[in-house]
Symmetry: C3
Subunit: 221 residues, 3 copies
């Protein structure tokens, strides 16, 4: 009986000692993943600002950043699914990791479209979309290290929702501008729409991440 108690206490100690380390590693990966979103958003901004200078290099670096983010996502998913104890609800963590992945994928797709359509300059409203994305990436990176701070999470969610509403309205006004232009430039316009649509999808992905983070935060005891 004493032996049983002892081994029980023993396991509890192991759990007690392993859990913080496991969580730390988990948060480190999450911080890396969201940090890469900030890097990606900066490259996207760079491509809007600099025209041809360093263009090919920035495109190549974006694909590298996307690739790194992919590796981290896989590491996070493995960690979530093989850990006996996870810092938060497993479903929420899945949703968070795949949400961060979506943000990156849409930024990378926008850059790839800029590349394959050989677009030198985006319309001003598309540059505004990129600025919103850069802001959302920074807010996301700032919050993931403090998922257990409800006040911080609340401010973040409110701000991302506000930005996403602004992005949505801007997106539809941008489409209206492009679709009331010179009908002779219709192919160039459709090329612009490809990029604009990926930027809009990135904004939506950041908003979904915010809702996931909100859910995680509200469930905390």
């Amino acid at each position: 009986m004493a032996g049983l108690s002892k081994s029980y206490v023993g396991s509890a100690l192991v759990v007690f000692r392993l859990r913080p380390r496991n969580d730390e590693m988990f948060f480190e990966l999450l911080v890396s993943a969201s940090g890469l979103l900030v890097d990606g958003a900066r490259l996207l901004s760079g491509l809007c600002a600099d025209g041809d200078a360093g263009r090919a290099d920035m495109i190549a670096r974006m694909h590298e950043v996307e690739h790194q983010a992919d590796e981290i996502s896989h590491a996070l998913i493995r960690r979530v699914d093989t850990s006996f104890i996870t810092p938060f609800d497993r479903e929420d963590l899945h949703r968070l990791v795949s949400g961060l992945d979506d943000c990156m994928d849409h930024m990378d797709a926008a850059v790839d479209f800029i590349d394959v359509h050989a677009l030198a300059q985006l319309p001003p409203r598309a540059v505004a979309q990129v600025e919103i994305i850069a802001r959302m990436a920074e807010l996301t990176a700032a919050v993931v290290s403090g998922l257990r701070d409800p006040a911080r999470v609340r401010d973040y969610v409110v701000e991302v929702n506000r930005l996403e509403n602004e992005a949505d309205r801007g997106y539809r006004r941008l489409r209206a501008e492009l679709l009331s232009g010179d009908p002779m430039d219709v192919l160039r316009m459709l090329q612009n729409l490809d990029i604009v649509q990926e930027l809009e999808a990135a904004c939506n992905a950041f908003e979904r991440v915010a809702h996931t983070v909100e859910g995680i935060s509200l469930k905390e005891p």
Copy 2:
């Protein structure tokens, strides 16, 4: 020992007394959210029917309805995530609330596109899409107050699936009509496609809600 039993019974009583009230409030919010979908669908139908009369007013009211729905969604999510006991599975409720939100968002986006593209009249097949949306909104509003009635849920799911299949086929035929028209009107056609696509997305969102409702209903003991 008796004290312990008593306090246990006491907590059970508290749970017994609080739970129905909590559920009632939850269902009231759900009924409001789905009622707003009916309001939104009516405004959408009004915009199709009335041409210019009252147009600006209907557009403004649609955005108000969307804003109210947003507030209710947030209240529902907070209630789901902070309640100790929820009437149904937490994941399902999340999916239901965000599903209802998607329906509204796509209706509101369609109206905003009608506004920014300054489209006076939709093609007949797009009006048919709006009619399907109005029917789906009514069916959804009727079912949310009776989520525990399996027969009612089954009829609703079958009918929404049928409507969504009809909408899908109509959507693709509408695209075929628009894309075989006069190539000189290509910009006007693309403006129409923007609206048509949001209407199709709204139909899909209503179908996802139906699947969520079906899942909730089947899990009930």
Copy 3:
């Protein structure tokens, strides 16, 4: 006390005897659902290869296959939601069934667009998309019968991810080709884009299935 033990053992026996049969039926349905994806992908390939020969017949058969898949999905969902014990996590099974359904829906929508736009021939890069889809369908069908074999699942996930990245890049290059063509053919080009977009959505749906399968496999003890 002895009676209680006995009835407990009795229930355990019932569970022991019912569970394997329930799982068998579940896996049979899953194998059928993924087998239909292979059938659908073959019809899609046939439509690309054969031009007009047997075209109407292949289109009709695709819609039949989609309809059968729909029935199986509903049977699977009912089984998941009404079973006391399921072979895997309920949420994962929901995601798997609705993921397989999405794959089929996008293949069927692509075929319907080929029909309503009366397109006789797809561009070579779209044929490459169809080949990727056919490969993904085969890989998916092969893995669902062995969800509990981690090594097999790992190989499958790696290969589907690789194919999806290839499809993504091809998709954007195909759009670039179409959008730098003759602006006089803009409507024909937009018709092609409708199909190409559904094929891309099908590839994404297969990748989501792979991630769900990976999640299921990693959670297994």
